[in-house]
């Protein structure tokens, strides 16, 4: 029997290509390659072929068979893939439906600000030191150059526990402990964060409890210029690289000279706006050169060594940074308030 091999090849290839499912393909495979299939039948024909033509015929059948096998397996892969795709499509989801909630908790905004300030100073080699909130008058006042009859005791109304103990009104108390402990082992380079307490009635701008961070550096040749540079760095880290600072003479019993520090307004850039009350400047820090009496009390020779101290209110910074208008928000802990400060800035 004569076969047009090329025509067969093409015919089978077309039929294989046209199969749409794995089942159809299997049916076709059985029809062509099965024991009773077309190509098997052709193999049977070999016997009736003239011996001289047998080889040629065999090669042709084999070639046809191999071709069909290859095409079927190739087609099988394609069909399988197509079926998978169809199935996937049938499982298509609505990507606009709601998501499942992943809830990462938030740090308290005061913690965020406190950590930020701590990190700025730690990067400059400062140690972070804390101290007791129930403190002795000795550290809160006496050693800070505020004896019992000092008028500046009026500046801070104090919660007393008894004659000796009080709730610290300023983190200066920690500095005094650092000076006592470290004394003449200079240099000293610390920041002291912590809660402080004042006998104030709570309102939008006053809180009987708040957080302060004070810094203290004592060594040889420390100048007011060093303080100014440090404050500039702090202000720019907290409120932006374009900030300027200005020093205003002020008074703290434990520093001399003493200054309040104003930072150019981060909202209006210094042009004047409601946040800075039209002045272009915002008061955020107190600072000064450590008073010679304070150094002397710690056994440090004020003629040889000098130091600076600075203090900042964490609530005040947070209120300015985030535009918060009522300090009580920090202590009411309304979750909706707390979660407003979860972004990294």
């Amino acid at each position: 029997m004569e076969h047009n091999w090329e025509l067969l090849k093409k015919e089978y290839a077309d039929r294989i290509r046209e199969t749409a499912s794995a089942a159809d393909l299997e049916k076709l495979r059985v029809e062509l390659l099965g024991k009773k299939g077309t190509i098997s039948a052709m193999m049977q024909e070999m016997k009736s072929i003239l011996p001289e033509k047998r080889k040629e015929f065999g090669m042709a059948v084999n070639s046809l068979k191999q071709n069909v096998e290859a095409l079927i397996s190739e087609r099988a892969a394609t069909v399988k893939n197509e079926e998978m795709l169809r199935k996937m499509e049938a499982d298509k989801i609505d990507i606009t439906l709601p998501y499942k909630k992943y809830h990462y908790g938030t740090l308290h905004p005061l913690t965020v600000v406190q950590q930020e300030i701590e990190d700025i100073f730690v990067a400059m080699g400062y140690s972070v030191v804390e101290g007791p909130e129930v403190e002795y008058d000795l550290y809160n006042f006496e050693k800070a150059n505020i004896p019992a009859d000092h008028p500046s005791r009026d500046m801070q109304d104090t919660f007393y526990v008894d004659v000796e103990r009080l709730l610290r009104t300023q983190t200066t108390a920690i500095q005094m402990r650092v000076l006592e402990n470290q004394g003449t082992h200079l240099p000293i380079k610390v920041i002291c964060p912590g809660k402080v307490f004042r006998r104030d009635d709570d309102d939008a701008t006053h809180s009987h409890q708040f957080i302060q961070i004070e810094g203290l550096v004592v060594g040889e040749g420390i100048t007011l210029g060093d303080l100014k540079g440090t404050l500039e760095l702090l202000a720019r880290s907290m409120f932006g690289a374009e900030r300027e600072i200005r020093l205003r003479q002020s008074y703290f019993p434990f520093t001399e000279p003493s200054q309040e520090i104003d930072v150019s307004c981060h909202v209006c850039g210094g042009k004047g706006c409601p946040v800075c009350k039209g002045t272009g400047w915002i008061e955020i820090l107190g600072s000064g050169m450590v008073h010679p009496n304070v150094l002397r009390t710690a056994g440090i020779d004020p003629d040889k060594y000098s130091g600076f101290a600075l203090g900042v209110g964490v609530e005040r910074v947070a209120m300015l940074k985030y535009g918060i208008d009522d300090i009580r928000n920090f202590y009411n802990n309304n979750i909706r308030f707390l979660e407003g400060y979860k972004r990294f800035e």
Partner: protein, 798 residues
């Protein structure tokens, strides 16, 4: 301290300094201007003459006035009861802007009103400065007031600016206008001329007796003026007091106040006729009720310094005089008092009596040691001028000024070294000159300063460095950073651990809170993990904030309740704060609370319920991370009951034998009291934990051999605890046990009453080989044997 621009202008040339500039200069130099307000304001004002005034036809209280303003006659409807024909008045013309708004022509109940006749308060004059008469009606000007004059504020002496200067405690000297003027002059670098207060008058001998029986009154100047004439003060004096916020009364009283403002030395004038025997004694130790000149009775205690006459109190020293001896219309002679009283005594008395008078403020903050003499002389000078004083007796001094002049040497190089500046010798000297320190050259580097008596804040050369830099300008300081040996900085270990905890808790979805440390007794009693007797505040603001908390949980429940009341129904909160006990111990505690449910997604109705086991798992994971393996932890039922936790769903947590925390589901009573959900709350002591040694990370090779897992199910008594089951399995299985976990507890049908069905999962593994059945079987049998034998469980067929 209140001071006006015009007052300062008397002492120096301010022609090139605007009021705003002055405020700025004062603030930068350390005298912070907190407020700046016009004494009065109003545009388009004019002085008018009321020609006629008739009742308004349609009103029982309005008047219709014809007013000549010099520019024509206007009809104005006026409601003031005191308006009358013939008066000279202040007229606000249409278009005039007053603090209360703009004045427009209009028709008032059918009558045209073409302007307004003004009262002083309508011009923004502080009501406290006005008499009742002035507050009740329009201002009636003197008959000679110039009709048609448009500079009304200037005519009234009200075209002035009041500065409210906030003084730091060291600059109490600026409570004297004279000292303040010198300060302003120094800042502006302008010469200041203060009034010459010397007077010419022949003084007669005195028989006034002044005694001080307490060291709290080291100095007392007294002087008798036998004749004064009481009358109203001249306008300039009234205006000056007005600017300072003090109400004018009569010439003599006003002089005492004015001189106090000028010199900073409080004065008191007694009615001579009311001081029999011309004797005054200062003493302490009285205990009585005393009526001061404000007519109010004050309780006097032994510590209060009192002024007495013939044993009878006539004044609370330094705070307020008495009603009996006060100056009034009948006064014909006076005794002047200029004294020094101990500042702490005055502060205590003034606080206790809540009497914050101008005098008390000055005594409390400290006086110029030489101010008394100055004040007496100035008073006499003004009394001569304004009160026809006569019969002036010699001054009596009791005590001494005890003043030693202070000279301080300033080294320019040291000042520069402290400031980080390069100020020249002459520049520094000029600063001292401006401050009236009368600098003298000692050598090329040293300047000797003679500190004026009122600058009691200057005591050392560092103070002089501050004076230098504030006058020469902070802008001259170059910014540098400290140059010193590098030191290692960083957070202390417990703060690093705190940050790790905060991060983990955030990861669990919990948010941080910070609550008030001061709480009520009730909150103390409800604390879950009190560390001892709480610290009690002696002078608390209220009972709500009487104690420093000894445990955090009450504040947490309060916060939860606050949020639930605001419909924040899902929450996970934590706080890390210090707690204290009266003996001095301080601990850092962690408190956690979670709502009974945490939603994951609404539309798939997925949520997680938070129960005892959620909290337990959370705390165990935290502790594991901190180095405290769960093998070291155990839970026990509450050792004492409370009404905060449900005793059947709560536990005390132990690390070894040490109690470190407590946690559980809230008690139904607590839930009701605070309107809570079925939340879980826990508190642990971080300090107590950190006192114990933490485990370290150790390398263990990853096990290459497969683990074999068995499940067991059995029925046992309700009383058998999970811990007992796990311990029994651990003990029986020994070395080959890798893990044992209870994965199901079932009660209900097929299970007898009082029993429960328990399913556990046991994992065996060896680090040395793959386990064969022959290795495991004996071990597993032993497990079953011990469970059956010790806990009397009945194995269920698997």
């Amino acid at each position: 301290m209140r001071i006006t621009y015009n007052w300062l202008k008397q002492y120096m040339d301010l022609s090139d300094v605007s009021p705003e500039m002055l405020a700025e200069k004062l603030t930068r130099g350390g005298l912070e201007v907190e407020g700046m307000e016009k004494m009065a304001q109003g545009t388009n004002l004019i002085i008018g003459h009321v020609l006629s005034c008739v009742p308004h036809p349609n009103s029982d209280h309005l008047h219709v006035c014809q007013v000549n303003t010099g520019e024509g006659v206007r009809q104005i409807v006026c409601g003031a009861p005191n308006v009358a024909a013939g008066q000279k008045v202040i007229v606000a013309l249409p278009g005039c802007v007053l603090p209360g708004g703009e004045i427009k022509s209009g028709v008032v109940r059918g009558e045209l009103s073409d302007g307004m006749i003004c009262a002083l308060f309508e011009l923004g004059v502080d009501r406290k400065q006005l008499t009742e008469q002035q507050l009740a009606g329009i201002e009636v000007l003197p008959d000679d007031a110039p009709v048609g004059n448009r500079n009304v504020l200037e005519y009234l002496g009200l075209d002035d600016i009041i500065y409210d200067v906030s003084l730091t405690p060291n600059r109490a000297d600026c409570l004297s206008v004279w000292a303040l003027a010198k300060e302003v002059g120094a800042m502006l670098n302008k010469p200041v001329t203060l009034p010459d207060y010397h007077y010419e008058c022949k003084e007669i001998p005195t028989d006034l007796i002044i005694r001080s029986e307490t060291e709290k009154c080291p100095l007392f100047w007294g002087k008798v003026i036998n004749k004064v004439v009481i009358k109203p003060s001249p306008k300039w004096l009234v205006q000056a007091l007005h600017g300072a916020g003090i109400k004018a009364i009569n010439n003599v009283v006003d002089i005492s106040n004015y001189v106090m403002l000028e010199t900073g030395q409080p004065l008191h004038f007694y009615d001579l006729a009311k001081i029999p025997g011309k004797e005054i004694t200062v003493k302490q130790g009285l205990r009585e009720t005393y009526t001061a000149l404000d007519g109010i009775e004050y309780p006097i205690y032994e510590d209060d310094i009192m002024i007495t006459n013939q044993g009878k109190a006539i004044g609370i020293a330094g705070i307020m005089g008495g009603d009996d001896s006060k100056i009034d219309e009948e006064t014909h002679g006076i005794i002047i008092e200029a004294a020094h009283f101990n500042n702490v005594c005055i502060r205590n008395t003034s606080r206790r009596l809540d009497l914050n008078t101008e005098a008390a403020t000055r005594f409390t903050k400290g006086l110029d040691p030489l101010g008394g003499r100055k004040a007496v002389e100035r008073s006499v000078q003004l009394l001569l001028q304004l009160a026809d004083a006569d019969g002036i007796e010699e001054t009596v001094l009791c005590g001494s000024e005890g003043y030693e002049p202070l000279a301080l040497d300033a080294s320019v190089s040291r000042i520069n070294k402290l400031l980080g500046t390069q100020f020249g010798y002459e520049a520094v000297k000029s600063a001292f000159e401006r401050l009236d320190f009368q600098p003298e050259k000692v050598d090329e580097d040293t300047i000797r300063c003679h500190i004026p008596s009122y600058r009691r804040d200057i005591t050392c050369w560092q103070d002089l460095s501050e004076e230098t830099v504030r006058l020469l300008g902070y802008e001259n300081i170059r910014s540098t950073l400290p140059l010193m040996p590098t030191v290692q900085g960083g957070l202390p270990p417990y703060k690093r651990k705190k940050r790790v905890l905060q991060q983990m808790l955030n990861g669990f979805g919990l948010s941080e809170i910070i609550s008030y440390s001061l709480v009520s007794r009730q909150k103390i009693d409800e604390g879950l993990l009190p560390i001892g007797e709480p610290v009690r505040i002696a002078n608390a603001i209220s009972e709500e904030r009487r104690f420093f908390r000894s445990s955090l949980s009450s504040s947490m429940l309060e916060t939860v309740s606050y949020n639930l009341a605001r419909s924040n129904k899902e929450y996970g909160l934590f706080e890390i704060s210090n707690v204290y006990e009266d003996g001095g111990r301080e601990e850092s505690h962690l408190c956690i609370a979670m709502s009974e449910n945490t939603g994951i997604s609404k539309w798939q109705k997925e949520s997680r319920s938070n129960d005892f086991y959620t909290m337990k798992g959370l705390i165990y994971e935290l502790l594991d991370r901190l180095g405290y393996d769960e093998k070291r932890l155990s839970v026990k039922p509450l050792s004492s009951s409370n009404e905060v936790l449900n005793p059947y769903k709560s536990a005390e947590l132990y690390l070894g034998n040490k109690k470190i925390g407590v946690f559980g589901v809230v008690h139904p009573l607590c839930k009701k009291k605070y309107d809570l959900d079925d939340c879980v709350i826990g508190e642990i002591s971080l300090t107590a934990i950190y006192e114990e040694k933490a485990g370290k990370i150790r390398f263990t090779p990853v096990n290459r051999y497969p683990a074999v897992t068995y499940d067991l199910a059995f029925i046992c008594d309700e009383s058998v605890s999970g811990q007992q089951i796990v311990q029994t399995v651990k003990k029986a299985a020994g070395r080959l046990l890798k893990d044992v976990e209870i994965f199901d507890i079932y009660r209900g049908s097929n299970i007898p009453e009082g029993k429960k069905s328990v399913a556990i999962n046991i994992v065996y593994q060896s680090a040395e080989k793959t386990l064969a059945e022959s290795d495991i079987n004996p071990v597993h049998s032993e497990v079953i044997r011990q469970l059956t034998g010790k806990l009397h469980v009945n194995m269920r067929d698997s």
